[in-house]
Every structure is written in C-alpha cells, then in structure tokens.
C-alpha cells in the first residue's frame, strides 16, 4: 500500500495517542468483559442470553430506548428550531434547561419522575383516573429514557440550524417553494446528519441507562425489567460470567445498531452531495 503524504504533520503521533487512549478507556475494559464470558461454554452462554426473562428485558430496553429516541428526535428538533429561529423572553433560561438532564444525577431524575408520575403524584393523579398508569409500568421506562436523551438531539441539531442561514429559506420561498417544500426539501436534508447523530446518541444513552429507570420501572420480571438490571441482578448473585454474557449481547446489538445508523448517515450525506 502506498503511503499517503499528509499535508498536516504529526499524523503518526496523533494516531498513536488516539489508539492508546481508546485502548485504555474503551477497548481494554470491553475486551475484559468479552474475556470473562469465555468461562462459559457456548451452550451455557446461549442458555444465559436467551432465557425468557433476559429476552423480555432486551425487548423492553431496546424498544423503550427506540421510542424515547424517536420522541426526542421529533421534539428535540422542535426545541432546537424554537431556540434558533425565534427570540422570546426567557430564551436563555429555556436553553439552559435543556442541559439539565445531562447534569442531574440519574438517580435523582428517577426519584423525581417517580414522585411526579406515581398514582399520588402531580401528573400521575391526573392520568390515573383515565386508566393511564405511568410509574411502575413499561411506559414509565419510556418516560425516563426520553428525559435523559433530550439534550443530545437539541445540542447536535442546534449548531447546524444556526449555521443554516435564514437566507436559504428566503431563497427557496422566492423561487416558489411553499412552506412544506422549504422544510422538507431545503432544511431537512441539511439537518439529516445532525438529527441522525442526535438520535443515535440519545438511543445509545438510553440503552445503557440504569439509575433513573430502576426507580420508575417497578422491575417486574417479564414486564418492566430492563437489561442493565438483569446484569446487576446477576452480579448480586456473584454470577460474573452470566452478567458479562448479557453485557456482551447488549454491546454487540448496540454496536450493530450504531453502525447501521452511521451507515445511514454516510448514505444520506452521499446522496445530498451527489444531488448537488
């Protein structure tokens, strides 16, 4: 392979540091997890990761994370839009509010959400008479995962929207595009990559979330048990190999999903630049 000549100096050094850093922080701990599962035979591994309770928890974790991320993609885009395109009193405050789920300890978030959505809480007491139970049901899991994922979409979409000058929209309008066409043909394609990134981040964050969910989920086996809880449960029984087996499955699924989202992003980028 021919060696590329880079314009910028320091390629070898910086790549070396990157690899070292990634290895220390990500790769080595993760491979330790993989290594631990080798204590199990393949049949045992399969039995652990396909047990009905564990499978039910995958469905809940990935399903609720997906719903949460989709909700965040829609409402996060709306929030980012409002924050960049309009001026109103208290805008700075709203802007700061968006970051709160980042800073709050997740356990605090979980307790607060549970208090509000429980049948004797502010929102829960309004919903309960209509037959909607949030706290201690899978719906509660969705609420918690939506809460923690909100900043990701807003913060990735916002700078792109800011860069996207209002002139483009005016140009589209002056060329005869109606409002919907301006949005779907001009703005949305430019936002796609950022929106997808935000979605992927919110989704990934939700999959791994533990602290806030266990308070609101109710943790009933087969119904409202998330996969991270299954892992903790196994650890509490000193079943290290079983815990890492489930963790490995989560890792692999997450990696495939994130990889697919990245691929989607690459594809949409490609399409946009090709159509220009």
């Amino acid at each position: 392979m021919a060696k590329h000549k880079n314009v910028l100096p320091g390629f070898n050094l910086s790549l070396g540091y990157t690899l070292l850093y990634l290895s220390l922080i990500v790769l080595i701990p993760l491979s330790a997890a993989f290594l631990k599962t080798t204590e199990l035979s393949l049949a045992e591994f399969w039995q652990v990761v396909t047990a009905p309770r564990v499978v039910a928890s995958y469905k809940l974790t990935f399903g609720a994370s997906l719903i949460g991320a989709v909700l965040n993609a829609i409402f996060g885009l709306l929030t980012a839009w409002v924050l960049t395109r309009y001026t109103f009193p208290g805008k700075k405050l709203v802007d700061a509010l968006v970051d709160l789920p980042f800073a709050l300890p997740t356990a605090v978030a979980g307790i607060a959400l549970t208090a509000v959505y429980a049948s004797n809480g502010w929102i829960g007491s309004i919903l309960e008479p209509h037959g909607i139970k949030v706290a201690f049901t899978p719906l509660g899991v969705v609420v918690a995962l939506t809460f923690i994922g909100l900043p990701f979409v807003v913060r990735t979409v916002q700078p792109v929207l800011e860069d996207l000058e209002a002139e483009t929209e005016e140009a589209a309008a002056s060329l005869g595009a109606n409002r919907w066409q301006t949005f779907s043909r001009v703005i949305l394609p430019a936002l796609w990559p950022a929106l997808l990134t935000g979605f992927a981040l919110a989704f990934a964050r939700a999959i791994g979330e533990y602290g806030s969910v266990i308070f609101i989920a109710g943790n009933m086996p087969m119904v409202s048990e998330i996969t991270p809880l299954i892992i903790i449960t196994k650890l509490e029984q000193y079943d290290y190999a079983g815990a890492t087996a489930v963790a490995v499955v989560m890792l692999v699924i997450s990696f495939i999903l994130l990889f697919a989202i990245n691929g989607l992003q690459w594809w949409s980028n490609h399409r946009i630049s090709a159509s220009r």
């Binding site: 652990v48 047990a51 009905p52 309770r53 549970t114 208090a115 429980a118 049948s119 004797n120 809480g121 706290a135 201690f136 266990i214 308070f215 109710g218 943790n219 009933m220 086996p221 087969m222 809880l229 903790i232 449960t233 196994k234 650890l235 509490e236 029984q237 000193y238 079943d239 079983g242």
Partner: protein, 327 residues
C-alpha cells in the same frame, strides 16, 4: 470507583491523627446502629488499652459491599445480614477461612432481626397473618429477592411459614407464588421498598425487617402505620467477621477482634436493642424479653439447610423465584 477514592481519602485523612483505624464494610440499614456503636467501642478500647482507634464505615447494598471487598476494598471488618455475603470472601478471594462462622458465638451473629409486616393506619385490609397477604386485592411491597437480602428473608419467611404449618415444598411454592402475584413493585433494595410503600402510597402491607419498621415509625411519627407480627417468621441473623488477609496486612487483628467481641458485650448488645435489633446473648435477651414481641422464629439452617442451599434452590437463575414469573 469514585466511592473507593473518597473512601481512600477518608482513610488517609483519619490515619493522620489516629493511632489505628479500622474499616467496617456493612450493609444499608446499619448506618444508625454503627453511628452509636463505633464511638462506644473507641471509648472502651481507649480505656482498656490506651490505644486510640478510629472506625471508618462504608454502607451500601449488602452483596455490592461484599463484592467490593472481594475486589480489593481493604475492609478489616465485614458486617452483613446474611451468611452468603461473607461466605463469598472465602469462595472468591480466600480472604477468610471456610469455617469463619464457627469463630464467634451464635454462628458469628451477635444480633438478629425478623421479617414483619407494616400496614397502613387502622389496618383497613385487616391483615393479621401470612394468609391475609395472598388474598385477592391486597397489595404487598417486598424488595426484589434477586437483589436484596431483605427481600430474600421475606420470601423465605413466607415459604417457612407454610412448612412450619405442616405443608410441603409444593404447597409452599404455591403460597409464595400467590404472594408475589400481589406484589406490584419489586424495588432493588430494602430502603427502596420502604419509599415505595411510605412515599408513593403503594400497597397495603410492606414486608421488611423489624428494625427497619421501627425506624420508619420513629421517622414518621409512628401514627400513620401499624406493625403486624405474623404467627411465624424467619430469624434474620446478622453475621460479622474480621477479614484475615486484611487485618494481617494492616496488623490490626487484635483491635479487630476486640471490635467483634464488643458486639457481644452487654454494652454492645444494649446498643443493638436501642436500634431495635434482637440481642443474641442470653442474659441481655432475657432482660429485654418484654421489649420484643415473642413469636415463633425459625432459622435458615433449620428450614432450608443453610444459606448456600437456600440461595441455590430459590434465588439462583431458574430457581423457584424465577419459576414464579416464568410463563
């Protein structure tokens, strides 16, 4: 990790002005007890030997704490609410000998508690004994037996009740299944279950330790809830041990042994009573007979053949507890 760092920092800062320091790694609800117990021991030890000793405490979910010790947290002393969480120190780390429980009286358990019911004011569902908990329409809050010692004791207490009444394992399993059908939320720990019952207003009865129940009543004025003692329950023993490998390295075996023995002294036992823990030393127990409701208590050894067996049959993956929820 952060916890360990803070702990290390604490240890370090206290080591600077103390002759000796011990680290007692304990479970969640002993916080209040050791806040009283440790200064009392320090005073006793100073008078006896002239040595100044500082005791540092670490609290958390019991299995998590035991795992931290196995993974290298330098605990001189470990105090837990079930023997399996100390056994693990031998099994996974060889930090203590296998027969650690034989080293102190009463199976190395100076105090005990039992699983009782806490019901709402006036006992609206008229809950008197175990059978009332499995009636339809009764909500029972129990901590998750998979993740909590408190929940495991509650589960085993229900099982043992059926056995003690002359039932067999099949009947007991049926009973426990019905009981858990009435459980709306499985919190991961004892304190979480308390919050669910007390703050979220969920369920008609909370199953938890006698000492936790009394703490709830004390904290909340005591008139919103009533304690119900079932006819039969489990003796929840609180075993203690020093960690041989660590005390030998720290050269703290003498003072650690003194600390353990102090649990069995009249003063230590009285402090336990103050925190609603049942004393195990005969003379003190006899003196406080009137302070603790007398009911039929069975031990884990007696009904389940020891903790290791109980753990394997009931709480391991695929055990009876999992079978309740399997479709």
């Amino acid at each position: 990790m952060l916890k360990r760092l803070i702990l290390a920092a604490l240890l370090f800062s206290s080591a600077a002005h103390a002759d000796t320091s011990l680290l007692n790694v304990s479970y969640d609800v002993t916080r209040e007890f050791y806040k009283d117990f440790n200064p009392a021991f320090a005073k006793y030890w100073k008078e006896k030997t002239g040595e100044t000793v500082t005791i540092n405490q670490s609290h958390g979910g019991s299995s998590k704490q035991a795992r931290a010790v196995v993974d290298g947290l330098e605990a001189d002393i470990i105090t837990m609410n079930q023997a399996t969480d100390i056994d693990i120190l031998y099994e996974k780390g060889r930090l203590i000998p296998k027969d650690w429980q034989k080293r102190l009286p009463n199976g190395s358990s100076p105090t005990a508690s039992t699983t009782v019911f806490l019901v709402r004011k006036g006992n609206p569902k008229n809950i008197k004994d175990w059978d009332d908990l499995i009636k339809p329409g009764v909500g029972v809050v129990i901590a998750n037996p998979k993740t909590s010692g408190n929940g495991r004791y509650a589960y085993l207490a229900a099982w043992g009740y059926v056995i003690k009444k002359g039932g067999d394992d099949a009947k007991a399993k049926d009973f426990v299944a019905k009981l858990f059908k009435n459980v709306p939320v499985l919190d991961t720990g004892g304190r979480g279950a308390t919050t669910t019952f007390v703050q979220r207003d969920i369920g008609d009865a909370l199953l938890t330790f006698e000492n936790e129940v009394n703490l709830i009543k004390k904290e909340l004025g005591g008139d919103q809830f009533e304690v119900v003692y079932p006819s039969v329950s489990v003796l929840a023993e609180n075993p203690i041990s020093l960690v041989d490998k660590v005390v030998d390295r720290h050269k703290t075996r003498t003072v650690a042994q003194g600390y353990l023995d102090f649990h069995y002294s009249p003063e230590g036992q009285e402090l336990a009573v103050k925190h609603y823990l049942r004393p195990r030393v005969e003379t003190v127990a006899a003196k406080h007979k009137g302070d603790f409701k007398q009911l039929t208590l069975f031990t884990i050894d007696e009904v389940f053949g020891g903790w290791a067996n109980a753990q394997k049959t009931h709480f391991a993956d695929g055990g009876t507890f999992d079978q309740i929820y399997a479709k």
